[in-house]
Amino acid sequence: MLGRKKKMIPKKYVVVMIIILIILILIIFSFMLKGDRKLNPVESFLKDGLVYTEKVVTYPFNYISNKISEYKKLKSVNKDNAVLETSIDRVSSIESENIELRRQLDKLKEELNIDYTLVDYEYLNATVVSRNVGFWYNTITIDKGSYNGVEKDMVVINSKGLIGRIIRTSAFTSDIRLITTSDTNNKISVHISNGDNNLYGLINNYNYSDNLLEVEGISNTKDVTIGDYVYTSGLGGIFPSGILIGTVSEISTDSYDLAKIIKVVPSADFTDINYVSVLKRKSVEE
């Protein structure tokens, strides 16, 4: 009875404190997610460790599936061989044509003062080890990291076209943000090639219900036709020019009927990415 009464915090202060706490947490999240921060050594170590554990666990499954696909390929090897034999005769002429084109390209680059084109990059092949765990982040992880020379903002492609860019690296892994991410930091400058016409625009959004990228900023859409190829323009500094993004599938106007929107089907199949190439700029000596 003689004990002191506990001082109770009024309810309204508790509510205010909770609101402040939520706001603070959201601010922290906002900084942590927006900044594409560097991984600390613990995160880097754990991430690398998990990738190697996963590699060990999946090795038997991968081995069996590889053997099955090898067997399937073996069945059609005779057919493929006949096709290859006919095309092998053309190799030497293509090679000489290639040398001539390379010479012309170097000359044009010198005249136009262009620093980098796709041929100035070397390709670092990597395997995808995990994809989009947690669903909401739209990233994939590859098995090459800073140890292999991968750096933030390097461009990632596969055989069909542009995939995304590196946002984080650990020693032996890297996270890639896919181009199918509709966040405000993910705008890509593109050019649409239609014969002699080169139109420049910006990928501004990704419509995931239709799997279409939306290009804005092109005023003269009369010159754009369905099926035109869309490439990176090289403007903006991150993506080199000439990487295929997709083909034009639709031309429409925005909801206010003011600006034209060009819808593009991505050339890469984002549900079936197993191997990718990271584009690394060739060093000067090379």
Partner: protein, 168 residues
Amino acid sequence: MIITIIYLIFSFILECFMSNMFSSTFSDISYFTTIYTIIALVIIYPYFYNYKKYYILVLIFGILFDMIYTSTFLLNMIIFLIIAIVIKILNNILSENIIMINLISIVSIILYHILSFVILSLINYGNYDIILLINIITHSLIMTIIYTSVSYFVIKLIFNMFNIKQIK
């Protein structure tokens, strides 16, 4: 305790492994995807007498999920903690059988996606809409039920085999 930790680690690695088997993008979500670690947290809850240990595990795996899979900071840890509290409340209300455990798993997965959706939309991480949220939730249901049901029987069998009633 060791069994639950091994099961949690197994489920945690399964996230990475299954994401490769059934890959998902926003435009094409696989019907065989779920958050395996959350299901593991649902399955192991009834075996804990000492809830402090349970919450410590929740925090550890939340941080690991943040560090390894999403490269976020505290986000998944907080979501996992909220889900753990909901799991506790639902376990107090509902009886322990396979149907109710499946129900708790589904509620937990729905809660994970709703919380992720709300937080990521609030901080303007991406342009998500409610249709995407519904799509992700509906596509997660099949695998949630499969993994919960299989885990329920396997974990029960293992605990019976070692004659363990509860973790103190």
